[in-house]
Every structure is written in C-alpha cells, then in structure tokens.
Symmetry: C2
Subunit: 215 residues, 2 copies
C-alpha cells in the first residue's frame, strides 16, 4: 500500500512538473522570438530613404538613411508577407506603398487582392491603375457609399488597420494611427470582412455588367 | 527516510495542485465577467431606436426597437464612461453620438475632452458647436494638415478606434470598422497621443492668438 502510494505520488509529481515545464517552455517561446506582434504606429513621419528595404547595399540619395520610422516599420510589416496580402484601402496614391505591393506580387509570388473605393480610386496620383496593370486583382466598391476601410491582412494572420489612407499626405502630413496585431480575435473578423467585400464587389455581380451582357 | 519522502511528495503535489487551482480560478474570473473587452464592429448598420439607451421604458417612435447593432454596441461602450472620455475625431456630425457625449458630460459628470480637425469641424451638421456650447473642452488642430484620427478612450482604459468618422454617412452608409479593446498595449500609446495632441493644440500656443494679443 505504502509502495503503491509512493509510486502514485511520484507519478503525479512527475506528470504535473512535466505539464508545468511544457507550459513554461511554450510561454518562453511565445514571449521570445515567437511573441505575437502588437504595435501602434503614429503619423506623420519624417521622410527617410526606403531603398534598403528592397535592395541591399549603400544608397547615394539625399534622404536620411538607416532610421527606423513608423513608415519603415509599416513597410517592413507588409514586406513580411510570404503567401497573401489582402488590402481594403479607401485611397491609395503612395508610390512607396505601391512599390511594396508590386515587390510582393512580382518578386515574392505573394497573392495580392485589393478592394478599394470607386470614387477615390481615381484621385490624383492613384496607384490603382499601376496595380491592375501589374496583374494584381483589384475590385472596387459597387455600392452607393464609400468603401472607407484602411486595413491590410498579411498571410491571414497579421492585421494592419487604422485611420491611415495610403497617401503621401496621410503618411507625411496628417495625424494618423495604425494598429498592428496578430491577435486572432481581431484578425479573424477583418478577414471575414475582406472576404465579404471581395465577394460583394465581384464585377460579375455588377448590375452594370449584367445590363451590358443583356444588351 | 520513506516517511519524509512521502510527506515531501504529498507537499509538492498539494502546492502544485493549489497553484494550478488558483491559476484556473483566475482564468475563469478573467474569462467570465472580468474578461477584457475585445470587439470588432463593422458598418454600415441598420437604423434602430436608441432611446432605450438613455431613457428606460417603452418608446413609440417608428424605428425598430430592442435590436443590438454595431451602432448600439458602440454607443453602449461610450456610455460605460464613468470618469473621462478623450476623443480625437476628424469629422463629428452624428446627432446620436453627440447626444451620448452630452449625456456623459451633463448627466454623469464625465470629464470630456475633444480634439478635432480645423476644417472638418465646420462641415454641414457639425456637432462641435453644440459640444462647445454645452461647456465641453474642444480643441482643434492648429497645424497645416488634417487631424485624421477617429478614436476615443473611455476612463483611460477602453480604446475605441478605426476608420469610422462620427457622421451619419459613416454609420449608415460606408463600409467602416471600429475596434474596441482594453489591451493596455494599445490603450497606452493612444492615451499618450491624445495628451500630445491636446497640449500641441492648446489655443494659448496658437500663433494666431499670440499675434492677436501682440496687436
């Protein structure tokens, strides 16, 4: 009886300590390199060279180099995409952000989908044409109001959202915020919203196109 | 030796199980009523009566009653304020949202501060005048670009942020998002941003006012 109890006690201690150990290890991994991204970026930001994000080696342009700014951090988050980038952007005229999206599409084989606003896709300097020209799938709001979101989901797991339109003025002039998170409680609903808007703005469902086909 | 080992084993098991129990209890409390708020609201929303949020009892208006919509959930989060409400709102013309802010200021003694945009505070139907008339402290962007944020911090601990301007069109027409969180990793930077903008837009620092005084 005494021996059985002793063995049982050792067993319980061993199992409990093992579970604690595994739990501790998982926490360590999570808090270390695997810590979920959680960041807030505020704008406006100073203008710095971003060439180093695309090409290794020195750059001779006149802009400041090597500084980490909210904008370079935003670009780095986007450039971390390996499989997909889903964008819902009201206004998109930033050449730097367009360069990032084109780089992901052309150089990294990332599947990029963009939903934008039908009126604001025609603003001065809009990059929507350049995206479409490069073969990126872009859909625009077919409803009567604005598609006013400004969010991106990287690889279905990193959400980038806030007040910041992807324009030069937003980045370098306005007071703006961008929230970056891997919290699935936030990422999941935004992914669902993207899919909903992607389907709802399928040109095949456009009454204008249907009318055209009927004619 | 055997007895000592047995007692030691029982002690270890007891302590470990107690710690596990406490940890479980804390998790239960956290996941129950004490769970931190984490919510995403999408717009547009249907129009429903919001009178029940202010006055108990039946309402005879023609709008649908009793439904929980993203808008009523947004209003409820704002109405949960007990001590302070710090707002950074680009465009503010929603009468319902103004009603909430006035209710907090007048009926609940909540300290309300508002930072808004100097151009957009003059849009058609702007409620900024009504807020100022009620004695609420409102400051507007004194810089050359837009104060484009759309966030609120309730009682210094609940952040409400997203793409949604506080306008009728944003709530009932546009595709918009609002993220609600008590995560201090998000709330703290937004509080700091609010204080920064509040100080930067102090009218006493306005060059226009200084010029006026010098004259």
């Amino acid at each position: 009886m005494g021996k059985t109890f002793k063995l049982l006690a050792i067993g319980v201690v061993a199992v409990t300590l093992s579970l604690e150990g595994i739990s501790w290890l998982l926490r360590c991994l999570r808090d270390g390199r695997g810590r979920p991204v959680k960041e807030v970026l505020f704008f406006p930001t100073t203008v710095t060279c971003i060439n180093h994000l695309f090409l290794p080696g020195p750059c001779s342009c006149s802009l400041p180099h090597g500084d980490s700014t909210p904008f370079t951090r935003l670009l780095r988050h986007l450039l971390s995409a390996r499989s997909s980038l889903d964008l819902c952007i009201f206004a998109f005229s930033s050449q730097e952000l367009c360069r990032v999206v084109l780089e992901l599409h052309r150089q990294h084989g990332v599947s990029v989908r963009v939903v934008t606003d039908k009126d604001y896709m025609m603003i001065s300097g809009s990059q929507i044409g350049a995206l479409r020209k490069a073969g990126i799938s872009v859909r625009h709001e077919l409803g009567g109001f604005h598609m006013h979101h400004k969010f991106a989901v990287v690889d279905k797991k990193l959400l980038i959202t806030g007040s910041l339109n992807w324009t030069h003025q937003a980045v370098q002039g306005n007071k703006e915020n961008v929230l970056v998170t891997e919290d699935s409680g936030f990422v999941r609903p935004f992914l669902q919203e993207f899919e909903k808007l992607w389907d709802a703005n399928d040109p095949a469902r456009s009454p204008t196109l249907s009318d055209f086909i009927m004619l």
